[in-house]
Symmetry: C2
Subunit: 132 residues, 2 copies
């Protein structure tokens, strides 16, 4: 299994390479804490607002406690159980809840909230511990 140092090193290398994707290829550890946030924008039909939020999330993805993250947009669906009304999805994964709590007060996260909070109208967060 990769060590934490190796994982973070790979993240840094991907960032240095200027990856334009919402996530980098990554080897995950066998246990993860999920922090999945769905954003509803004040201006859901404004691509500029969506792009600004996505740009903010790309910077947020550099927070050091994040093991792997994914930035996305809804896949439209006609199925009643599918909620495709949100504007942007942000999934960040951590080693455990303590790491997610550190991320909450990371200056990178605080700056993201300061710069981007005016864009959204509503946020729903699901925090998930891996089942034993």
């Amino acid at each position: 299994m990769m060590t934490r140092r190796t994982i973070l090193g790979a993240a840094g290398a991907a960032a240095a390479a200027g990856s334009a994707t919402g996530a980098q290829a990554r080897t995950l550890p066998d246990r993860l804490f999920l922090h999945h946030v769905y954003f509803w924008l004040k201006a859901p039909k404004d691509p500029g607002a969506r792009d600004a939020l996505i740009a903010g999330l790309r910077k947020l993805a550099m927070a050091s406690d994040i093991i792997w993250s994914h930035i996305g947009v809804p896949s439209p669906s006609a199925r009643g159980v599918v909620d495709d009304s949100y504007s942007v999805s942000w999934l960040a994964t951590f080693s455990d809840r303590a790491a997610e709590e550190r991320y909450q007060v990371d200056p990178i996260h605080l700056k993201f909230v300061e710069e981007c909070a005016a864009l959204w109208e509503r946020v729903v967060v699901y925090d998930t511990e891996q089942a034993d």
Copy 2:
């Protein structure tokens, strides 16, 4: 980058090793489609119902189109934006939407629904395309 065959091979090896965790260590490709399902059980205080659903999800995780999956339970939170009212979280990742659509009709998925649907009262699904 790992080929699809290599990824599935690693999954098979982990399954053969009888991993008891909700996810296996895995190298992810650089683009993924997310299918995140939150279940609210009819009997949310019954650990047996929760364990039965988790056991069903462990079998579902063997569906061949899934690249990586995670089974979890809510991490309690006092933050108003955090919804910790669900019973079980199921995150499955795919190469793209077409793969998720194949999974919907995979016999393993149909059997999961048949065996477990009586356990839940409500399901919310978020399907997410990775941002460009």
